[in-house]
Symmetry: C2
Subunit: 174 residues, 2 copies
Amino acid sequence: MKRIAIDMDEVLADTLSEHVARYNRDFQEAISKADLEGRWLWEIVPVERHAQLEAYLRSEDFFEDLPVMPDSQRVVKALTQKYEVFIASAAMEFPNSFGPKYRWLRRYFPFLPPTHFVFCGDKGILDADFLIDDQPRQLLRFRGKGILFSAPHNLRVTGFQRVHGWLEVEKLLL
Amino acid sequence: MKRIAIDMDEVLADTLSEHVARYNRDFQEAISKADLEGRWLWEIVPVERHAQLEAYLRSEDFFEDLPVMPDSQRVVKALTQKYEVFIASAAMEFPNSFGPKYRWLRRYFPFLPPTHFVFCGDKGILDADFLIDDQPRQLLRFRGKGILFSAPHNLRVTGFQRVHGWLEVEKLLL
């Protein structure tokens, strides 16, 4: 059985929406995802507000209740019939996120055993056939086949097989 | 550069001593490591006390201040000169342990970058050349070369390359 590793933030969980919503709320701004095409949120927020952007990610509740990406639950469940599915999150950057991320996965993907969750930093450590991730730097370290999951920040990145959302993952792998 | 993955409990951290100490304290017993040769603590503790044994491992502070295994800090530091070193802990069984384990590693192995910490469940997911672990079941899932780190419970296990402590790891890998 082939093995697939799947990233959490921007792939299963809509982390960016929550990040932008908190920023817009606190600074009375109206940034939309369209404003972020080809750019990180950090690139369009003034540098004197970066400490606050970072603070959102480090807060205890940030990762607790993120929206689920459309179609991800159904497609991941279908993948488990044909592949060994692992969830791999670069959680080491945000140690406060361990508990919330674990609970989030149990809540929204209850059919996945926690033995198949991996909290790491460098995804080069994963032994899998496929890695679905929005971060080009993680795909470059990974030794299997990387699949770039579209997110606003990576829309101009080339050189990877790309999927726009979970319906395309379904077409590609099922 | 070859890559080594190193387990935490019973390899870097003396988890068993803390577990036995809490049990002895609460039940006025005097179990020693010698009593545990070839056996798990679970096998010599009466079954009606297993819920308490489990509760120790799930408590918030259990993994916070475990003793460090002799020579491990010096040898792991030396290994980082010659290998890519990752720490891999099967932390998913005990979600309360994520924070304590992260802080413990930062405190006792501050020369290791957190990007090289992995909290997982099934070590078959690790892409490394070597895995040093006390659990035969994890070594069996791992696709690289497994090295069994002696612990009381595994003393009768055969079929793996075995090391008795960190001085033997030093001889084998350095």
